[in-house]
């Protein structure tokens, strides 16, 4: 996952460096040009002549630069600033320099399935950072871009992270976890995986099938429970989902089980009936944790449904499944951004072990890592 974005971010970094380098050249050109103006006695050109003189005196690259003055826009007031900045060895990044690279970055983010409004927020952050701070800094443009991006992405994706295992360890038992999400994203499979993940860490769990609607739902979770040798609480099809999960909780209390994993039927957020049923489950069961499940292959819609599910039954974090099927991973960024809740796990396959803790720092480092090109 995220390989696609990584490539594109590298492109962006190069873009900005190229544009600003070109600008430095242009600035040098401009200073030459204004120097010519000074010679012809244009009143405003005195400063520029100074600047040009400084350039000549202090910096090498000016000598190498193309002396063709036609490339520079002589009437542009920023010419002076550019010339001065160039003289003191700084690079000024201006709005217009960023326009093309930022457009490309926006496309890169969209190509990685970052939702449009989220992508725009990220771009705004990058733009502000780059415009505001470059004037004071002496680093290379590449470093600046990397820093701006790193911060913007990490800001979004690291939101509200907590240590899931610690949370389980510290909570009063039994801990009830309810899984929510749209149809077919991998709720039931993730429950089976998480049950195994918990077992590996010494916690017992019981599965409760709150999906009393879908054809084959009972048989599906039953088979997982049998294979993993877990207790399953289930009712007849058509039963009350809240009651099943509640029974799961009663079972856990009576049998000293640590965690209740409550499944729910997949539902689309456009159905008010099913969303209010979800609210009811949330009210009646009052779970310790609600985990929203969505898939890495989801596109722009990820934002809408995350918002709606969070609204109906407030979530504590997200499990992003099918990360093995998708290299872009923008859904992680979108969902974390709109819910303000952390991505906790990645589903990486259909096996019980195909679940990983989501590590935002590692992810961003991997995205922007210096070792990769």
């Amino acid at each position: 996952m995220f390989d696609g974005l990584k490539d594109k971010l590298n492109d962006f970094r190069k873009d900005v460096e190229e544009t600003t380098e070109k600008d430095s050249d242009a600035a040098a050109d401009a200073s030459d040009a204004t120097a010519t103006d000074a010679a012809t006695g244009t009143p405003a050109a005195d400063d520029a002549a100074d600047a040009a003189a400084t350039v000549d005196a202090t910096s090498g690259p000016a000598e190498e630069s193309d002396t063709d003055a036609s490339a520079a826009d002589e009437s542009d007031p920023s010419t002076f600033q550019r010339a001065k900045a160039f003289a003191t060895g700084r690079v000024i990044i201006e709005e217009e320099d960023l326009e093309d690279p930022l457009w490309n970055l926006e496309m890169a983010l969209l190509e990685s399935d970052v939702e449009m409004s989220v992508a725009e927020e990220i771009l705004d952050t990058v733009r502000e950072t780059m415009l505001g701070e470059t004037r004071k800094q002496v680093e290379t443009t590449g470093e600046l871009v990397e820093e701006a991006l790193h911060d913007a992405l990490l800001d979004v994706i690291a939101v509200g992270q907590f240590d899931f295992e610690e949370r389980i360890a510290e909570a009063d038992k039994p801990v009830t976890i309810v899984f929510t999400g749209v149809n077919g994203v991998g709720k039931t499979t993730s429950i089976a995986k998480l049950s195994e993940w918990l077992a590996d860490r010494g916690y017992s769990s019981v599965l409760a099938n709150g999906d009393t609607y879908r054809a084959g739902a009972n048989e599906q979770i039953r088979e997982h429970a049998d294979r993993l040798d877990r207790k399953l609480i289930s009712h007849e099809q058509g039963g009350d989902p809240a009651a099943v999960i509640y029974d799961g909780l009663e079972y856990a209390k009576a049998n000293d089980v640590d965690v209740v994993l409550g499944d729910t039927a997949g539902r689309l957020h456009t159905s008010d009936d099913l969303m209010s049923q979800l609210e009811k489950i949330d009210r009646v069961v009052d779970p310790d944790l609600t985990l929203f499940v969505d898939e890495a292959v989801a596109g722009q819609d990820a934002v809408t449904r995350a918002e709606e599910f969070n609204e109906a039954a407030e979530i504590d974090g997200t499990i992003l499944t099918k990360a093995d099927a998708d290299s872009s991973g923008g859904a992680a960024i979108s969902i974390a951004y709109v819910t303000g809740k952390p991505i906790l796990f990645l589903g990486t396959g259909q096996g019980y072990d195909d679940i990983e803790r989501f590590d935002p720092e590692r992810l961003v480092d991997r995205l922007l890592g210096a070792d990769e090109t």
Partner: protein, 466 residues
Amino acid sequence: MVLDDLGSSLRGTLDTLQGKSRLSEDDVEEIVKEIQRSLLSADVDVSLVMELSDAIETRALEEEPPGGTTARDHVLKIVYEELVDLVGDSTELPLESQTILLAGLQGSGKTTSAAKMAWWFSKKGLRPAVIQTDTFRPGAYDQAKQMCERAEVEFYGDPDGEDPVQIARDGLEATADADVHIVDTAGRHALEDDLIAEIEAIETAVDPDRSLLVLDAAIGQGAKEQARQFERSIGIEGVVITKLDGTAKGGGALTAVNETDSSIAFLGTGETVQDIERFEPSGFISRLLGMGDLKQLSERVERAMAETGGEDEDWDPEDLLEGSFTLKDMQKQMETMNKMGPLDQVMDMIPGMGGGMMDQLPDDAMDVTQNRMRDFEVAMDSMTDEELENPRIIGQSRVERIVRGSGIEEETVRELLEQHKMMERTISQFQGMGDGDMQRMMKKLEQGGGGGGLGGMMGGGKGPFG
């Protein structure tokens, strides 16, 4: 529904061109940027968006608008042609014996769609059978079996089988009497080499007449790579878009259609076996062209509402969906409709009511309707506030008084009360519903012809206006 959000956001963009007769380069650039935005936020592949918008830009700048055409209509036509070119007609599905193989990502809706399609074919008078070859997913056999029971179609599967290829072969043999064989497969994605090899083997054994790629409407940019891989390994003749009852716009399907050089076969709009529709490019086209222009309609409604509301502060159209529906509400509704303009124009803007439906009505239906509405209004003017708020109290003696007061025939007054009751019943069914529920409801109304509302007003031959 699929692509009509796309259509409406495009139309929004194009509205900015309203009134202009020439397009400057800036106009075109602006419009192309907006087109890009709407396509991108509908999940259409980025490079495909660029291709489309380049083509639109070039044509908009180069082609001279035909005389008398506004700039807006000209661009609209270009956008329309480029999109329609891409989407094409719905996948051809002859109503004859055939074998269909379903493929797609995990959880995209294959099993559900298999049962839905079987239901669809059975309604067309063919005898379908579903063969479940998914030996991997827990409960897959039971799920498919139960869905087929709900669809009342033949099913074959082997809960203990381990080889999908063998099950496919056995299934085709066991259901040899059926006309249409629909072969369901386990979910898989492009990067799972072993599973891709498996479906290639299934495809070889089944030798389908067509293979359909089942895609979730919400799929993002990954649609391209997935579609490409499925096309390469089994050849895709059509795309099924599922979960369109949500908010996802289904642009990934455009990408897949482009990538596989195929078309859209079916749309999935819910979890029950009846929630399936054939893709109708003509519907898409007319929506895209603004023939069923909901946006324009709603603006007119809003304007008219604002005018109506100004006179009467305690009337809120929102109440319709909450409290009870009184004669007063009906009165306001009719006033509002009058303010929107001639009825036939208003009708034309309602998707599904324009075009074909208008043609089916008798020529003078509009005039008759409008006259009836006028009579209704006059009759209501002769009612007391109490009667308007609570029509149930209107008995024989009150009817007679209203007839005397208004000069409207008794029969008409009774029709008015009847019409009100019908609308009240319809509206109460809509109360407390979300979009998805509403969609289902609309479909039921279409199928069962539940009457009431605007449709009831129109009468369609047997109502009060017939």
